[in-house]
């Protein structure tokens, strides 16, 4: 008989629903993120974001990050990685009708207290350093480096950047081509950071 291929993202979801805290806060964000509010809007984005933040604040990283950063085989383009992509309910929390310019998005983030401080943390904790073994300038953990899923890559592009094209490209590369961030996520998927995470979650 063929051995069923391990689906780490499915296993993480199973583990979440067997844990009372994770199950509770998972439903608490799935509900606003999947409820249509009008014919024009698929959901209440503000409520969805708030519940998502709460999920990552209240649920032990072992569970929350287990779902967000579960590792899938490179060949897998469906069951596992699509499940991982669906973790944050992207149709509500992530996608917009139009992609804004990344510099404009950064500017609007800086007008919000929470967004500003989290973005600053991300730039500090996830600063890449090619010469270090971890790829990071600071000794960091996946939870410190990637405190929320938005950082994997924000919903924006560098069209209409004008004179600031270079600055915009540098900003997006910090998300998309960041060895520190990539290694931190990979380390989480491999479970090599499990010890550090355990002590963080208790």
């Amino acid at each position: 008989p063929a051995v069923a291929r391990e689906n780490n993202c499915l296993n993480a979801a199973k583990a979440c629903n067997l844990n009372d805290t994770c199950k509770k806060y998972r439903s608490a964000y799935i509900s606003p993120c999947t409820s249509r509010v009008s014919s024009a809007e698929v959901c209440n984005k503000r409520k969805c974001h708030k519940a998502l933040r709460q999920f990552f604040d209240k649920v032990p990283p072992k569970h929350s990050y287990g779902m967000l950063y579960c590792s899938c085989p490179v060949s897998d383009q469906s069951a596992c990685s699509e499940r991982r992509r669906q973790t944050i309910v992207p149709v509500c929390s992530y996608e917009e009708k139009q992609k804004p310019n990344c510099l404009e998005l950064q500017a609007s983030c800086k007008t919000n207290y929470i967004c500003r401080s989290r973005l600053a943390d991300f730039f500090v904790n996830c600063q890449p350093e090619p010469r270090s073994l971890s790829g990071c300038l600071k000794r960091t953990t996946p939870t410190a480096c990637c405190p929320t899923p938005v950082y994997v890559s924000p919903f924006c592009d560098c069209n209409n950047s004008g004179n600031n094209k270079d600055e915009c490209d540098k900003l997006t590369e910090f998300f998309t081509e960041n060895t520190c961030l990539r290694n931190a996520i990979q380390a989480f998927g491999n479970g090599t950071d499990a010890q550090k995470l355990k002590s963080n979650s208790t």
């Binding site: 199973k14 629903n17 199950k23 509770k24 439903s27 669906q86 309910v89």
Partner: protein, 104 residues
């Protein structure tokens, strides 16, 4: 509160299930804990139950009105359950699992 009363065997139990085991028509590989209420509720809880019992016994009620005894039932429910089905659609199930039991 009936579940906690002395002599009552009505208690909360749990079983580890696949979402498909619920028989609600969902096909998902996810799993969950189902909690349910089980046990006897022989002792009448209230005067209401005693009166009904006495009336039924003395044939003062029409036979088809013979009321049911108190039942071991959920008096509050667990948090909502959410899961992704095999077509990658989210579902939420409410009032699916017991949190507290009582003879009601």
């Amino acid at each position: 509160r009936g579940g906690n009363r002395r002599g009552q065997g009505c208690v909360l139990k749990q079983i580890h299930l696949n979402v498909t085991d619920l028989g609600l028509g969902y096909s998902s590989s996810e799993e969950m804990i189902f909690r349910y209420c089980s046990g006897p509720c022989r002792k009448s809880e209230t005067n209401y139950d005693k009166i009904l019992y006495n009336l039924a016994h003395n044939r003062r009620l029409p036979p088809k009105d013979t009321p049911p005894q108190t039942c071991c039932r959920p008096i509050s429910f667990d948090d909502d359950l959410s899961f992704l089905d095999d077509n990658l659609v989210y579902h939420i199930v409410r009032k699916h699992s017991a949190r507290k039991c009582g003879c009601v």
